[in-house]
């Protein structure tokens, strides 16, 4: 070891702190539930439907000017673009039908519902092009996304389904590889991570879109990864030190894996900070969620997953030991 200060052998009594940890987690979960209930998530167009446009900021194209030029209610904000230049972000829903022209009036109600966001998009592109002398062909509209109500609803259902299916599959995998106590501990930890990360999204009003679902699933994957490493060590130590009480075994396992936990989360965090600061605004929300998720995932492996295994008790009789040994020699 070239860095002498890296904790090589620690002896932190994690399991003595588990009540405090549980309380802390409960407060966070309660706060998250409260925030999600009152403030709610800031859904992006993927899930809420509507349109988001990005324009390069110039002397004439400014936030107040665009706001003034918009014929309908819109959120107009400035943001930093991928290469650092300023952009103007325009977000809006559907225009009132009377602005959408004669062709639109002749549609059936069902068609109107589905076409309104597309028609509004056309109207706004026209309005802004005329007002600021912009051209679609020249790429003045850096981004222009419109999602209709049908697709946004489906995307949302698919996203939620993905989360639930992922949790269920992992539950089964851990059950198969370990014991049900571990499975319960791991899933509780994952649910804990998801709820608190969602609370974070609600608190900071970070846009919640398809990429956020990807981020949540990655957090689940990472947190699971971390939990499995700890569980593997607990299982091994439990078998090795037959007389030692569960609490001490778990503490020992957590301490021996602590150095690895810190290192892996360290290298992963380095990468994520690189994306956060250099990856541009599209990836900023995602990398922020992941950075937060690394912390919460590492914490939950110790204070939720392992603590629950301690509370539920383990049982490694001879027979189960045989059963759970997998992977020998690759």
């Amino acid at each position: 070891m070239l860095i002498k200060y890296w904790p090589e052998r620690t002896n932190v009594p994690f399991m003595n702190m588990r009540i405090a940890g549980a309380l802390f987690s409960m407060i966070l979960i309660a706060a998250s539930a409260f925030l999600l209930g009152t403030r709610g998530l800031n859904f992006g167009v993927d899930f809420a439907g509507g349109t988001v446009m990005e324009l390069a900021k110039t002397d004439t194209v400014t936030v107040p000017a665009v706001r003034a030029a918009m014929p309908i209610n819109a959120e107009v904000n400035s943001a930093r673009g991928t290469d650092g230049r300023e952009i103007v972000v325009v977000k809006f829903g559907e225009a009132p039908p009377d602005l959408l022209g004669e062709d639109f009036q002749s549609l059936s109600d069902e068609q109107k519902a589905e076409r309104a966001s597309g028609a509004t998009n056309e109207l706004i592109v026209q309005t802004l092009s005329d007002a600021f002398n912009l051209s679609v062909e020249n790429g003045d509209f850096l981004r222009n996304d419109s999602v209709g109500p049908k697709v946004s609803k489906e995307l949302f259902t698919d996203g939620i389904t993905a989360l639930i299916v992922a949790l269920a599959m992992m539950l089964v995998y851990i059950w198969f590889r370990f014991q049900w106590q571990f499975s319960v501990g791991a899933i509780a930890a994952l649910a804990h991570d998801v709820i608190i990360t969602l609370g974070m999204f609600a608190l900071l009003r970070i846009e919640f879109n398809l990429t956020s679902i990807a981020a949540l699933l990655t957090i689940i994957g990472y947190s699971m990864n971390d939990t499995v490493v700890v569980f593997d060590r607990i299982r091994e130590d439990r078998r090795k030190y037959k007389k030692m009480p569960d609490r001490e075994v778990i503490d020992m396992s957590l301490n021996t894996t602590l150095s690895r936990t810190l290192l892996t989360s360290g290298t992963t965090l380095i990468s994520l900070f690189a994306i956060y600061f250099l990856g541009g605004p599209v990836l900023q929300g995602m990398s922020f969620a992941l950075i937060f998720g690394i912390f919460i995932g590492t914490y939950s492996s110790i204070f939720i997953a392992s603590a629950l295994v301690l509370s539920l008790g383990m049982d490694f009789t001879k027979k189960t030991v045989e059963e759970v040994q997998g992977f020998t020699g690759v």
Partner: protein, 534 residues
């Protein structure tokens, strides 16, 4: 565990070399390379390349209604008997039902509703002509003298499938008449089409091309001013419609067309004598014959070329026209003429398209994203490398070597399976860089523990790799589960993220567990270190 016979080393070397070959097109232009080498790098997603993404849906209601509309004509002719030519009201399509009301079912006492139904059943048949298959229509007596015809589920699905295939062909022919562009058109589910046009900045042009029904007809015209004036006042002559055109003004157009879209062989943009853009098209044999007959019979009159209820041109018939060559001159730009020719040639859409989801990224923004991702990846990689070497010394350096192999293999994998790299996909690669060292860290920590208990480098390494294996597998399989689900249920850029993450997991286990181990064994054989500086 620490035995690396020559065949094993050879195999690993072959995998790595093959990775380099597959990944090479991503950094070098391979156009001059020998034939066996792959030429194509990773496909860039629309978010990186810029372009237009459109998700469209064919309305099932309209497909069914159109089908029933066609059926209604057959119903009319089937029920028309020589004795009584009107024993029913004109059948009416109401939503997804065709309602036939018999007006005098029992008039002569021997033609009842049941008899009408029996006759109509002759119009029915199995879906797709498969003998014994589900029936195309469900026909039932729904009132004393009413027959309702509906399309059952199975038949509707087959109708939709046909409509989807037809629509995809038409979409392709309209947006890419030359068949040369990179536009991709793929079906999704049973009634959706996804169109991706890389590099295209303007979704509106594509939507305009696809929004039209493309119903092209030649109709005779009543051009008497009195009839037109009467129609404008609201009294449209029966059998005619009042249509207008930019060049022609209002015209009374006969409802029954002389020439229809299927009579047209091909259409193209050309130039007239004054070098203005025009549309030329040629009728097929049947169409040309019909056109000659019509022009011969109606010499001196006017006819209208109508596209989607809009009169494009209304020339006078000076003489019978043989050959079937027609041209439309008008006030179009060249692009408009090209687009109109594509619409005319592609033919009529089976049903109107709904645009559900449209996304546009300008090509410049795409390039910026690539640059940003590249910088982030480089800095992430450099920082992880420094970190690993500082903490694990020589072994850390080996981990960095295999991490570099890992990145090459990720690009090889992406290029090899023809995956699409998206912006979240780049994030996936950068994340993999951070997480890939995990397997190494797990092993090194074990080696350090074993060495701490006084074991030699050989036994410590042996024990380290053996003990860390099940942890590494468990940890990566769970992440792979998350990535697989992301792939199955995600869409667009998120799918790209799932692909890079999955490939990254597989390659990182290989490089971290196998490649690093081989390097470490080679190091121990060559330099025979007393202990590892970890």
């Amino acid at each position: 565990m620490l035995q690396f016979p020559p065949w094993k080393i050879g195999l690993i070397a072959v995998i790595l070399l093959w990775g380099v070959v597959l990944a090479l097109p991503n950094v070098v232009n391979m156009s001059g390379a020998p034939g066996w080498m792959p030429k194509k790098g990773v496909n860039l997603g629309l978010d990186l390349q810029g372009g237009v993404y459109l998700m469209m849906e064919i309305e099932a209601d309209e497909v069914v209604a159109n089908r029933l509309d066609v059926l209604s004509r057959d119903v009319s002719s089937t029920l028309t008997t020589p004795q009584s030519d009107r024993i029913f009201n004109l059948p009416e399509v109401k939503g997804r039902e065709l309602v036939v009301r018999l007006t005098r079912p029992d008039a002569d006492g021997n033609f009842r509703t049941e008899d009408a139904l029996k006759r109509l059943q002759k119009l029915n048949g199995p879906v797709g002509g498969v003998i014994g298959g589900a029936q195309m229509y469900e026909m039932r007596i729904s009132g004393k003298d009413t027959i309702t015809i509906t399309v059952p589920q199975a038949a509707e699905e087959s109708l939709l499938k046909d409509a989807l295939n037809k629509t995809m062909t038409i979409v392709r022919r309209r947006v890419d008449p030359e068949g040369v562009s990179e536009i991709s058109i793929t079906p999704q589910g049973n009634n959706r089409i996804i169109l991706e046009a890389p590099g295209e900045p303007d979704p509106q042009r594509l939507k305009d091309l696809l929004n039209r029904d493309g119903r092209m007809t030649f109709n005779l015209v009543d051009s008497s001013p009195a009839a037109i004036q009467a129609a404008q006042a609201g009294a449209v002559k029966p059998g005619f419609r009042l249509l207008t055109g930019d060049e022609t003004g209002p015209l009374l157009v006969n409802n029954i067309p002389e020439i229809v879209g299927s009579d047209i062989a091909n259409a193209a943009q050309g130039f007239d004598e004054q070098n203005r853009p025009q549309i030329t098209f040629r009728l097929n044999g049947n169409g040309a014959r019909k056109f000659y007959e019509t022009t011969a019979k109606n010499t001196g009159k006017q006819f209208a070329i109508v596209l989607d209820d809009h009169v494009m041109s209304a020339p006078n018939i000076n003489e019978p026209i043989p050959g079937g060559n027609v041209r439309i001159t008008g006030n179009f730009t060249q692009q408009e003429a090209i687009d109109l020719a594509a619409i005319i040639e592609a033919g009529e859409m089976p049903a109107k398209l709904q645009f559900l989801d449209q996304r546009t990224v300008s090509p410049t923004l795409g390039q910026d994203s690539i640059n940003a991702g590249y910088t982030a990846a480089l800095i992430g990689l450099a920082a992880v490398a420094v970190f690993m070497v500082l903490i694990y010394g020589t072994l850390g350096f080996f981990a960095v070597l295999s991490l570099s192999c890992n990145i090459i293999l990720i690009f090889a994998g992406l290029s090899g399976v023809g995956a699409t790299l998206t912006l979240p996909g780049i994030a996936g690669i950068i994340l993999t860089i951070g997480m890939a060292v995990d397997a190494n860290v797990l092993v090194f920590e074990r080696i350090r523990e074993e060495q701490g208990e006084g074991r030699s480098p050989w036994t410590a390494t042996q024990a380290g790799y053996e003990r860390a294996l099940s942890t590494i597998m468990d940890a990566n399989i769970t992440t792979l589960i998350a990535a697989t689900i992301l792939y199955l249920l995600g869409s667009g850029p998120v799918k790209g993220f799932a692909v890079t993450l999955s490939i990254g997991i597989v390659t990182s286990v290989f490089t971290a567990y196998v490649v690093t181990r081989m390097i470490t064994v080679g190091y121990m054989k060559l330099l025979k270190p007393k202990r590892f500086g970890i």
